[in-house]
C-alpha cells in the first residue's frame, strides 16, 4: 500500500514539475525559441531583449497542421536570412512560436497573448478563413499587425491585417474566365463546407451568369469527408465540362483518388483546384493528379531569379524532398515585406509600419509584388498551371502583369449583389 502511494505521489510530483516547467517559461522567448528552432540558434540566438520579437501563429497540431507547418518553415527561413544579413534596424528578429491547434478560439487567445504579453512587433499567421476571422477582432482591438499568407474569399480589408495571398480577383475570377474561354461552359462547383468555398462559389455563380457559363451542380462536403463515391456519381450524372474544386485539405486526397478509380481522368473532364499546391500533390500522389489544373500566383517552377535562390535555400535547409508552394512563398514574402516596411519607417510602431508599407515594392519569388495602400493586399500575377508527371506545375497561362487587388470586387458590375451588409 505504502509503496503504491509513494508511486502515486512521485507521479504527481512529476506532473506538477511539468506544469511548473511550463509556467517558468513565460518570460522572454529565449528558451522558447531555442526549443522551437534549434537549427536557428546560431543566427537568432541573441538575447530577446536586444532583438525584435515577432509572433508566428499557425496550427502545429490538429487537422490543419498538414498545411500550416510548411508555412512556419518558410517564415523561419526568411527570418534567418534577414538576420544573417544584419536583421532589421540593426537588430535581429526573434520569432515567438505559438500553436493555433486548428482551433479558432485558440487562435484568438494566442493572438491576444502574443500582442499583449510578448509585445511582438507583428504576427505572421493563420491559414483558414475561420482562423483569420477569429484573430481579426483581437488585432483590431489591441491595434496589432497580422500578415496573413493564404489566398482567401475576399470581402475583407481590415486596417490591421496585410493580406499576402490572393483575393478573389487575383485567383478565382480570372481562372473562371480562362476556363470559360478554353475549357467549356458547364460548371460543377464542389467545395468543403465552410466559408471560403461557399463565398467563392457565390461569386462564381454570379460570374457564370454574367459571362455565359452554366451551373450544373453544387455540392459541399463536411471538412474531413472521406468518401466521394456518391458525389462522383452526381458529377457523372450532371456531365459538367469543368469541376471547380474548392475542397480543402484531406478531402482533396480522397476526392482525387476516388475520381481516378471511377475512371475519370483529366482528359475526360477538367478540374481546377484552388487549394491544391505542390505540397498537396506530394500527399495525394502524382499518378492521381497528373493533368489536373490549379490556379495560384506562384509555382515552384515559376521562372524568376529570386525564386531560384528561394527554392534552393528552402531545399537546402529543409531537405531535397521538400517543395515550395504558393502559401509558403506568400509567408516568406510577408516576412520580407514587413522587414522592408520597418526599415523604411525606422520603427516597428504599427501605424508607422502601415504608413511605410503603402505602395512598397519587392522582388518576391513570384515576381514583383506591390502592397496596395488602400486595401493592404498585394498586386499579384495570376497563373494557371497543370500538374506534370514530376509533381510540378506547368504554367498554361498567366495574367502578364500583377493584378491590382480588389477584395470587394468593385470593378465587376455583376458582383454588385455580393457586397457585405455591414
Amino acid at each position: 500500500m505504502r509503496k503504491r502511494l509513494f508511486y502515486q505521489f512521485s507521479l504527481l510530483l512529476v506532473a506538477v514539475g511539468l506544469v511548473l516547467a511550463g509556467c517558468g517559461n513565460d518570460e522572454p522567448a529565449s528558451t522558447n525559441e531555442a526549443t522551437n528552432a534549434p537549427a536557428d540558434s546560431a543566427n537568432t540566438g541573441a538575447p530577446a531583449e536586444e532583438g525584435i520579437k515577432v509572433g508566428i501563429l499557425h496550427s502545429q497540431s490538429g487537422t490543419m497542421a498538414i498545411s500550416e507547418v510548411s508555412v512556419i518553415d518558410a517564415e523561419l527561413m526568411a527570418i534567418e536570412e534577414i538576420n544573417a544579413a544584419g536583421g532589421v534596424l540593426g537588430k535581429p528578429i526573434v520569432p515567438v512560436l505559438e500553436d493555433g491547434a486548428s482551433d479558432w478560439p485558440t487562435f484568438a487567445e494566442k493572438a491576444r497573448k502574443l500582442i499583449s504579453e510578448d509585445k511582438v512587433a507583428t504576427v505572421f499567421g493563420g491559414w483558414t478563413s475561420a482562423s483569420r476571422k477569429a484573430m481579426k477582432p483581437v488585432f483590431e482591438e489591441l491595434n496589432g499587425l497580422l500578415w496573413y499568407p493564404v489566398q482567401y474569399e475576399g470581402l475583407e480589408a481590415s486596417p490591421n491585417i496585410f493580406y499576402t495571398g490572393a483575393t478573389t480577383n487575383q485567383q478565382i475570377v480570372p481562372s473562371v474566365t480562362w476556363l470559360l474561354e478554353n475549357r467549356g461552359k458547364k460548371f460543377y462547383l464542389l467545395g468543403s463546407d465552410y466559408v471560403f468555398p461557399r463565398t467563392a462559389n457565390l461569386i462564381i455563380k454570379e460570374q457564370l451568369k454574367a459571362e455565359g457559363g452554366e451551373l450544373v451542380g453544387e455540392e459541399y462536403t463536411p471538412l474531413g469527408h472521406t468518401d466521394y463515391s456518391t458525389i462522383i456519381s452526381k458529377i457523372k450524372e450532371a456531365k459538367p465540362d469543368i469541376v471547380y474544386n474548392t475542397l480543402n485539405g484531406d478531402s482533396n486526397v480522397a476526392f482525387f483518388k476516388q475520381l481516378k478509380d471511377a475512371g475519370i481522368t483529366a482528359a475526360d473532364m477538367t478540374t481546377l483546384s484552388v487549394s491544391v499546391a505542390e505540397e498537396e500533390i506530394r500527399g495525394i500522389g502524382v499518378d492521381v493528379l497528373e493533368g489536373h489544373l490549379a490556379a495560384w500566383n506562384y509555382y515552384q517552377t515559376t521562372d524568376t531569379p529570386t525564386n531560384k535562390t528561394f527554392v534552393d535555400n528552402y531545399k537546402k535547409k529543409y531537405g531535397d524532398d521538400r517543395v515550395t508552394a504558393d502559401p509558403i512563398e506568400a509567408g516568406y514574402t510577408a516576412v520580407y515585406l514587413w522587414a522592408a516596411a520597418v526599415e523604411k519607417a525606422g520603427s516597428t510602431d504599427v501605424e508607422k509600419v502601415k504608413e511605410a508599407a503603402k505602395e512598397l515594392e519587392w522582388e518576391a519569388p513570384e515576381g514583383k509584388v506591390k502592397i496596395d495602400g488602400e486595401t493592404q493586399h498585394l498586386y499579384k500575377t495570376v497563373r494557371i498551371g497543370e500538374v506534370q508527371a514530376d509533381g510540378q506545375f506547368k504554367e498554361l497561362w498567366n495574367s502578364g502583369e500583377a493584378v491590382k487587388p480588389d477584395p470587394y470586387l468593385k470593378g465587376y458590375d455583376w458582383a454588385a449583389s455580393i457586397q457585405p451588409t455591414e
Partner: protein
C-alpha cells in the same frame, strides 16, 4: 438505372469500409468492453506501415516487384498494429478492465500521443501511397457503370477478415478460450485459462485488424497523423448500432449505416445526409437500446 446500380454498389463499398474499420473495435469494445479511443490511431499506424512498406520496396527492390508491395503491406500492417496493441494492453489497458469509461479517457490520451508521435516522425503533411497497378481501373458491368477494383478489393478483404475472425473465434481453441473469458472471467480462470494471456491476445488481434483497415484505407483516402479521427466515431456507431458483442450485429450495423448514408447523401447532400444517418441511429437506439442483434442476458446490471 445505371445510377441506382452504381449507388447500390457505392453503398456496399462504404459499408465494407465501415465494417473493416469497426471490426477491430467489435473485438476490443464489443467483446472486451474497452472503449478504445486510440482505435483510430491504430488505423493510422496501419496506414503508415503500408507507406513504409512501399518505401522499402521502392528503395531496395527491383521496380517490377513494386506492385506487389501491397500484398506484403497487409500482413505488415496487421503485425505492427498487433504489436502496438499488445504493448498497449500490457502497459495500460490491463489496469483498466472493468472501468470502461476510464479506458475511454486513458486511450484518448494514448491517441493524442500517437498522433503527435506520427507528426514528429513522418512530418505533419500527408504522405502519398501509390496504389499498385493491378488495382487501377475497374470492372465494367454495363455501359457506363464501372466498379473500381479497389472498392471490390476492399469488399473481398472484409469478407476474408470476417471469415478468418469467425474461424478464430468460433472454431479454434484459442477462440473458445477467448469466448469463455469474455463470458465469465472468474469461471474461465478457475478452469485454468490464463485470462491475462487471453486478454492480451484478444486486444492485440483487435488492434491488428485496425491495422489492416488502415492499410486498405490508403487506397481510398489521405494518410496523415489525424487520419484516425475521421473514422473513430463512425466505428463506434457501427458497433453500438449492431449490438455490442455480436459479430453478426456489427456486419448488419455497418451495412445499415453505409447503405443509408449513400441513400441520404444522394437524395440530399453530404452534410444533411450525415445528420440524417446519425438522427436515425439515435432514434433507433431509443427503440432498441441494445442494438440490432442483442446479446441475451438475464443479468440486470
Amino acid at each position: 438505372m445505371d445510377v441506382y446500380l452504381l449507388q447500390l454498389f457505392n453503398g456496399l463499398s462504404i459499408s465494407s469500409i465501415l465494417l473493416l474499420v469497426a471490426l477491430g473495435l467489435a473485438i476490443t469494445f464489443g467483446l472486451m468492453k474497452v472503449i478504445n479511443m486510440a482505435h483510430g490511431e491504430l488505423i493510422m499506424i496501419g496506414a503508415y506501415s503500408t507507406y513504409l512498406t512501399q518505401n522499402l520496396f521502392n528503395d531496395y527492390l527491383p521496380a517490377q516487384l513494386f506492385d506487389w508491395y501491397f500484398a506484403l503491406a497487409i500482413p505488415v500492417s496487421f503485425g505492427i498494429a498487433f504489436v502496438f496493441g499488445l504493448v498497449m494492453e500490457m502497459s495500460l489497458i490491463r489496469f483498466l478492465y472493468g472501468r470502461p469509461l476510464d479506458s475511454l479517457l486513458a486511450t484518448w490520451g494514448v491517441g493524442l500521443v500517437l498522433q503527435q508521435a506520427a507528426r514528429s516522425i513522418f512530418g505533419a503533411p500527408n504522405v502519398a501511397v501509390k496504389s499498385p497497378a493491378w488495382l487501377d481501373g475497374g470492372l465494367r458491368i454495363m455501359d457506363g457503370t464501372l466498379l473500381p477494383y479497389k472498392r471490390l478489393f476492399i469488399i473481398a478483404l472484409v469478407v476474408v477478415c470476417l471469415l478468418a475472425m469467425y474461424l478464430y473465434i468460433y472454431r479454434s481453441h484459442e477462440g473458445r478460450r477467448m469466448r469463455a473469458v469474455m463470458q465469465n472471467r472468474d469461471m474461465a480462470a478457475c478452469l485454468g485459462v490464463s485470462t491475462r494471456r487471453v486478454d492480451a491476445m484478444t486486444f492485440a488481434i483487435g488492434s491488428g485488424i485496425a491495422g489492416i483497415a488502415g492499410c486498405a484505407l490508403t487506397l481510398m483516402g489521405p494518410i496523415g497523423p489525424s487520419l484516425g479521427t475521421y473514422y473513430i466515431v463512425d466505428a463506434f456507431m457501427v458497433v453500438v448500432l449492431g449490438g455490442v458483442g455480436k459479430l453478426a450485429g456489427t456486419v448488419l450495423g455497418a451495412t445499415g449505416i453505409g447503405m443509408f448514408n449513400t441513400l441520404f447523401e444522394y437524395w440530399t447532400n453530404a452534410s444533411l445526409g450525415k445528420v440524417l444517418v446519425f438522427v436515425c441511429i439515435v432514434a433507433f437506439l431509443q427503440w432498441k437500446p441494445m442494438g440490432l442483434v442483442a446479446m441475451r442476458t438475464r443479468s440486470l446490471d
